[in-house]
């Protein structure tokens, strides 16, 4: 078990820079999830930690060691690949035991460790099978087994569940979490599935275009996004963002949006009148029907419904407010005809305010 620290780490392919000097400190036993859109450099970062990719600049530490020039096999990290990368010609036992064999363990030791890991992962009946004769979920488990037999300092996962169907994914996700609670090994996990990120992570690292936008607990990232990108990327449907400026209306200070909507600030703020800002409101911070009455009339707005759909026990409502369309996620099932006028309540305690120039959250 070990800490992992990245200090000003860069990755360049020739003159093309993909990772722009990131700083990240991962604590011992921590489960950290890297999320970001496709191509943002998540796999690259993971592969640099594994040593499969050289770092172009900066310092990387695992435990107390600087590992910049240490090759993968001496870093004592284990990685689970998106496509599992099982050895097709070896059976499950040999797949799991290969690293132990390379480490020079005796046959009996290998047998003992592999069988123990197989028991944990419920793979015992399949030890003689080749990967081709396993289901996706079983292969996934073998890939995990191959990682855990070695008892590594750090686990690296690169989208390990993305090839599984939704149900299996949920199940494997929970098993992963349980495994981490049991083994407590430092884990770095790459995904672009937010649910995985939110449920698994001790801390989430949101990455875009090779830079870190925010590092924080799932709740921090959800409720206090540091950039417009984080507000939009985390959460589904994404945060509604409106341009506007700070103004005073009826004695209250707030944001006057370009569409004429006025969002009063829930608390005192030093933001000066006239300052241009971006306002963000999460779809689940919007309520309908009786729930509206929880909010003061100033937080209630009349809107025109464009479209509604029911998703399980919740409803998504796309509506128009003075020519801007927004999305609300409502509790309960609401089937509303398009064109209906409706009163919605906005929970402005959860209002986000960003600077339109830098796209960074404002301190207000």
């Amino acid at each position: 078990m070990a800490r992992v620290e990245l200090e000003k780490v860069f990755k360049r392919y020739g003159s093309f820079e993909t990772v722009h000097g990131i700083d990240l400190a991962i604590k011992d036993n921590e489960f950290v999830v890297l999320v970001g859109p496709s191509g943002c450099g998540k796999s690259t970062i993971l592969r640099m930690i594994a040593g499969l990719e050289e770092i172009s600049d900066g310092t990387m530490r695992i435990g107390d060691r600087v590992v910049n020039d240490i090759d993968p096999k001496s870093r004592n990290v284990a990685m689970v690949f998106q496509n599992y990368a099982l050895y097709p010609h070896k059976n499950v036992f040999d797949n799991m035991g290969f690293s132990l064999k390379m480490a020079g363990l005796s046959r009996n030791e290998i047998k003992e460790k592999v069988e123990q890991a197989a028991k944990v992962l419920e793979l015992t009946p399949y030890l003689d099978r080749k990967p081709a004769a396993l289901s996706g979920g079983q292969r996934q488990r073998v890939a995990m087994g191959r990682a855990i037999v070695r008892d590594p300092d750090v686990f690296l996962f690169d989208e390990p569940l993305s090839n599984l169907d939704a149900q299996l994914r949920t199940q494997m996700r929970m098993e992963l979490k349980k495994l981490h609670i049991k083994m407590k090994t430092t884990t770095i996990y790459v995904t672009h599935d937010q649910v995985e990120a939110m449920t698994l992570a001790d801390r989430i690292v949101v990455i875009k275009d090779g830079t870190i936008h925010q590092v924080g607990t799932p709740i921090e990232v959800f409720e206090k996004p540091k950039t417009v990108f984080v507000a939009k990327f985390i959460g589904n449907p994404p945060t509604n963002i409106m341009a506007g400026q700070v103004a005073e209306q009826g004695g209250a200070k707030g944001i006057l949006c370009e569409n004429g909507m006025f969002l009063p600030f829930p608390h005192e703020t030093a933001l000066e009148i006239g300052r241009k800002v971006l306002a963000g409101i999460r779809p689940d911070a919007i309520a309908a029907e009786e729930a509206v009455n929880k909010f003061s009339p100033a937080w209630q707005y009349d809107v025109q419904v464009l479209f509604s759909e029911i998703v399980g026990g919740q409803s998504l409502l796309e509506f128009d407010i003075n020519g801007t369309s927004m999305v609300a996620e409502l509790d309960g099932r609401h089937k509303v005809d398009p064109g209906t006028t409706l009163k919605l309540g906005f929970d402005l305690d959860r209002l986000f305010v960003f600077d339109p120039e830098t796209n960074l959250a404002l301190d207000w």
């Binding site: 592969r47 499969l52 993968p72 096999k73 990685m79 050895y87 290969f98 390379m102 191959r146």
Partner: protein
């Protein structure tokens, strides 16, 4: 149902021409050659309009193996076997080695690939001529050491008369049984290493045959009335070298294609599992592309069994030291007009090639069935 049978008729009709052509021109002619090999067609009047052909059974075959005057053919056969074995080891070894070097992405990989593959595109006659010069007793390879101030080699690559690893053809039967016993034991040990259930069967069979031959080998009939030594003629090393030179590029291309097809993830996984580059190839890459090794063995072995033009170009058709059954067949048939005997040699070569190819076909069909 009707459409199915109609399809079948159509398929049959479409296939008919090729079935007929292959039937006549491949299998029909093999049959005809076999029939010829069972006659005494040859000698005086062999080329007359209606040559005399009498059925003589397997006389020609028997004569090739135990006939008093056929020792030349027997040496050719031994040559062909050594030639195949060394070509396999050499071309696969060298090709594999170069493929591994290139697989590790050196600079100018494409250039080297072309360079190594280039010999493939030469005709055997050209290769043979080049190498005959290179291997001449006082030129080419032999003078290389003088460039660093050393004495020149004086090895006679193509004209040595030495022969090593000799055995007595008289005892060919017990020799064959010994070989079978050793092969069985080796397969058994190999299966044992892989912890296969079938290891014991092979081992027991091999050991039993070995003991029987050891105890009762003297009772086996002698093949000849007198001693007749055959072995590895050193003069064939030159030919083996030239063939390895020509075919290593080919095996390299086969292996390189195989290695390139292995996903980077697998290599990464092996590296993280602690495998060195050597262990990666030994435990992951080479076993993974075993089908390529098998194809290479099949292709090279039947090439070596049919080798004709290269030997012709390097030492001429009449050099006894470097003879080969294919050359012998040609000379017997078309120079000596001994058609029946030539046909018998052709059938033996056909049989030897089948020995390599049939197991391959069986195993590949079986794999296909397993996958289906």
């Amino acid at each position: 149902m009707r459409t199915v049978s109609k399809d079948r008729i159509l398929a049959g009709v479409t296939l008919l021409p090729s079935i007929l052509l292959v039937g006549i021109f491949v299998y029909g002619f093999i049959g005809n050659t076999f029939w010829t090999s069972l006659t005494d067609w040859g000698g005086v009047g062999a080329l007359s309009e209606n040559p005399e052909k009498n059925y003589v059974g397997f006389y020609n075959y028997k004569d090739l193996f135990v006939g008093f005057l056929s020792s030349g053919f027997r040496q050719d056969l031994v040559n062909a076997i050594f030639y195949s074995v060394f070509l396999l080891i050499g071309a696969i070894g060298v090709g594999l080695f170069i493929a591994i070097l290139l697989d590790n992405k050196p600079k100018a990989e494409g250039f080297f690939r072309t360079v190594f593959l280039y010999p493939m595109s030469l005709s055997f006659i050209v290769t043979g001529t080049i190498w005959r010069w290179l291997l001449a007793p006082s030129g080419g390879v032999n003078v290389l050491p003088t460039y660093v101030g050393a004495e020149p080699f004086n090895f006679r690559w193509l004209s040595s008369t030495q022969s090593i690893l000799q055995f007595d053809w008289q005892n060919i039967l017990s020799f064959a049984f010994n070989v079978i016993s050793i092969v069985l034991i080796v397969i058994g040990l190999w299966l044992l290493g892989k912890r296969s259930k079938h290891a014991a069967k092979w081992l027991v069979a091999g050991i039993v045959i070995g003991i029987l031959v050891y105890l009762f080998g003297d009772m086996l009939p002698k093949a000849l009335i007198m001693e007749e030594k055959h072995g590895f003629n050193l003069a064939t090393t030159g030919i083996i070298l030239a063939t390895i030179w020509q075919y290593s590029g080919y095996t390299m291309a086969l292996y390189l294609a195989g290695f390139t097809g292995i996903s980077q993830d697998l290599r990464d996984a092996a590296m993280l599992d602690g495998a060195s580059t050597f262990n990666y190839y030994r435990h992951i890459a080479i076993p993974l592309i075993q089908p390529i090794t098998i194809s290479a063995i099949i292709i090279l072995s039947h090439i070596s069994l049919k080798m004709f033009d290269l030997i012709f170009a390097m030492t001429g058709p009449d050099n006894g030291q470097t003879g080969h059954p294919a050359l012998n067949m040609y000379l017997t048939t078309f120079r000596a007009n001994d058609f029946a005997r030539g046909a018998a040699i052709a059938m033996l070569l056909f049989f030897l090639a089948a020995l390599f190819i049939i197991p391959y076909l069986i195993s590949s069909y079986r794999n296909k069935d397993e996958r289906a």
